[in-house]
Symmetry: C2
Subunit: 160 residues, 2 copies
């Protein structure tokens, strides 16, 4: 069975966010195994200099790097990355699965974004939108797009 | 005080979605009045012809049209519309408020999208992403972007 790992920084603060993630995990279980890894976020000081920001990004980035499963194909979510529409994204996933890349990892940075190390480590920089989304909302959107992709490939109707 | 009306088709199915909408409404109350209008969605038959789809779009579109407040500036959410980044979106809202357009309305279609009548009636076709999102997720993203815009204009920090 294919596997999808989503590594993100910080934990959901609101209960409704946790519920949304669990709901998608449950729905996706029909098609693939989904694993969530949450690494510790760093407290952002009120007066945060450029240097402080870089330090936080680097600490958080290193925690993420250590958790990337070997032999998985790595997407990093980055507003500066490439935008795909839902069909292109579904095709991309399908092609990876066909090419025996049956383990996909998605990296989602914290409040300050993703470090340059994470971008270097990734195989594909994916932008969900020109707009900047919160990292928690990005996770929910990503899960929904993966679910949509699975439905498309299984020729199932998707009206939701 | 400025006012924002969001008219959408159908009601949230999951409790966590309702909670997300209410949370953003509460947070936004510091900056503007937010009103949610939900019109009845139509049942989509299992075998839905192009003609059926057009009929559903037209019925849902007419229900939305009737609820658009007079003298408001109307955005319609449409994947074929124009993408703005978060700063451009914040600027657009700010400029409308300065130009005395203190009531903004956002239209979100149902599962099948938006009717041509809604597109004609709108002042701006806004695309949140190249990706197609569910209409409920679009509402949550939109609320978050409006909240982000308000924070930007009030010079407040936004890390969330």
């Amino acid at each position: 069975m294919s596997k999808i790992t989503i590594i993100s920084v910080g934990k959901p603060k609101e209960d409704y966010q946790k519920k949304a993630f669990e709901e998608y995990k449950k729905r996706l279980s029909k098609y693939c195994e989904v694993e969530f890894i949450e690494v510790q976020d760093q407290k952002i000081p009120d007066k945060c200099s450029k240097k402080d920001e870089e330090k936080i990004l680097s600490i958080e980035g290193n925690l993420v790097l250590k958790r990337i499963p070997l032999d998985s194909y790595v997407f990093v979510l980055d507003v500066q990355g490439k935008e795909l529409d839902s069909l292109e994204f579904a095709d991309k996933i399908e092609k990876l699965f066909i090419a025996s890349k049956s383990h996909l990892t998605f990296l989602i940075g914290g409040s300050l974004g993703v470090s340059s190390e994470l971008i270097k480590r990734s195989d594909f920089r994916l932008s969900l939108s020109k707009m900047t989304f919160t990292h928690l909302m990005s996770k929910e959107i990503l899960l929904e797009q993966i679910y949509r992709a699975m439905k498309i490939h299984h020729g199932e109707k998707y009206h939701k």
